[in-house]
Amino acid sequence: MVSSNLTDTQSHDRLSTTDRDRTGQTDFPIFTSHPELIYLDHAATSQKPKQVIDAMSRYLTESNGSPHRGAHKLSVEATRLYDIGRKKVAAFIGASRPEEVVFTKNATEALNLIAYTYGLSTVKAGDEIVVAITSHHSNIVPWQMVASRTGATLKFMYVSPEGDFLPGEWDKITDQTKLVAFPWVSNSLGVIHDISGLIAKAHAHGAVAVVDAAQAVGHLPVDVCALDADFLVFSGHKMYGPTGIGVLYGKHAHLEAMPPFLTGGDMIEYVEEQSTTFAAVPERFEAGTQHVEGVVGLMAAMDFIEHMGITRISEKEQRIARYAVKRLSELPFVRVYGPREGHDRGALVAFEVEGIHPHDLASILDDRGIAIRAGHHCTQPLMKSLGIMASCRASFSIYNHVGEVDALVEGLHHARRIFGYEHG
């Protein structure tokens, strides 16, 4: 394993930004447990700052109760924290009111919720659903379900290997279109889509826009009102927060019109034997005991992001990503996917190394303490449309630094040598 000292020295020589870069890591206990870890897999799941871990422990130690609006103090406290969490998320993403925020277990459940409720109740036979080919499976398979149950048609908007929509693809959004779904930032190519444009285009044809912000929240400033998004989803665990908690943002009027999805405790008003009246939005969509410690952890994650400053996070990530694209593009045996050098991109770089299967590369790098992700990244239709079997992905966040990109590049040389290439 490459010692992290070596890595540091390298990067120091090269850019003298290491010290500043490194500051992010001290908040993350995982790097105390694994001092040599180079974690380039934030896009799969983020590491958690101490503040998040501690907030959840503290909740369970001091405040844990059932948030069923019970009358005793712990229950009241759990309810209070849960409600504050909702308000905080609403403020964090610029929702016009807390009721527009529904807690789910992850982005995937949030997308399914939209599909099962808004989708199945609004989309009719002959309608069209238009999905960006860059979408994650969780933003594709639910729409296949809606299309097949309603008799609607599912259409895809294709992109170039750089992630730009091919000419004319947006024209697939027509007056037949009822719903348009796309990622803000592609987890597979790193491209940042022009989502304001897509939302406006959808609205021009009377369709609603579903924004998958799983790779955007925590990386970019989010303002659902300014975007005029109809629905927007994300997961806590990709933004320094815990697993088991996700968010569905929906415009109040949409949520109001939607039937319930999961049913049971806490989402009802009156249950008779044969029928039920449901609670108001957003409780209507939150059945059963909710993940309060997840909300508490998510709040701490938002605090962390606000404390770091979204601009600072985003600038640092951009710097690392740009540097990674530059270094990787210099290697004759590497092909970089997604936006070209100098173009904006999300905090990740996907690439392929000639002669080495991505999974082999991931294993060899892992052996040197470098965690990347290899495979289809839950975007098989995109991969197929671009003719890519699998790719490697390095993704970045506040706790990374450019020295780690150097270590990655060194790791690629090493892997090439192992695979018998003279000039690694």
């Binding site: 299967h357 082999d360 294993s363 495979g375 079997m389 695979f419 018998g420």
Partner: protein, 144 residues
């Protein structure tokens, strides 16, 4: 064996040579194995006659581990009786699960022993067993 030397040996021995990667026109058994998670997709072709694996080869694409494991397996079972190949598959899969083999069993696995370390790499187990599972399925259909 370290990851690096596992790869070095594998690459040297098999992936570069590719001597078992081709269409086998005489094949009596064709079994496709795939791993949705990694995208490995290999097809094992066996020519079995009178209870003997007369010849074998594979086609498809996959990572170095899946291809090398397949190729080493083919070298090993070629010209062996079906009954013996079944025992090898059984022992190989036990080895990958981390079970202890006798010296004799280990010797029988010959070069395939390099994959022993997969028992400690759960993420790659499916790669190293893809070919062997194809073999098992094919042989299960075969009278010994």
């Amino acid at each position: 064996m370290s990851m690096d030397s596992l790869y070095t040996e594998l690459i040297m021995m098999h992936n570069r040579s590719g001597h078992n990667k081709h269409v086998l026109p005489e094949a009596t058994h064709i079994e496709r194995g795939h791993n949705p998670n990694c995208g490995d997709d290999l097809t094992l072709q066996l020519w079995i006659e009178e209870g003997i694996v007369k010849d074998a080869a594979y086609v498809g694409h996959g990572c170095a581990i899946s291809q090398a494991a397949m190729s080493i397996m083919i070298d090993l079972v070629k010209e062996k009786p079906v009954a013996e190949a079944k025992v090898l598959a059984h022992d190989y899969l036990r080895m990958i699960r981390g079970e202890q083999l006798t010296e004799e069993q280990r010797d029988a696995l010959a070069d395939a022993i390099v994959f022993e370390s997969l028992s400690k790499m759960p993420a790659r187990v499916k790669c190293g067993t893809l070919g062997w599972h194809c073999l098992e399925v094919s042989l299960a259909e075969t009278a010994e």
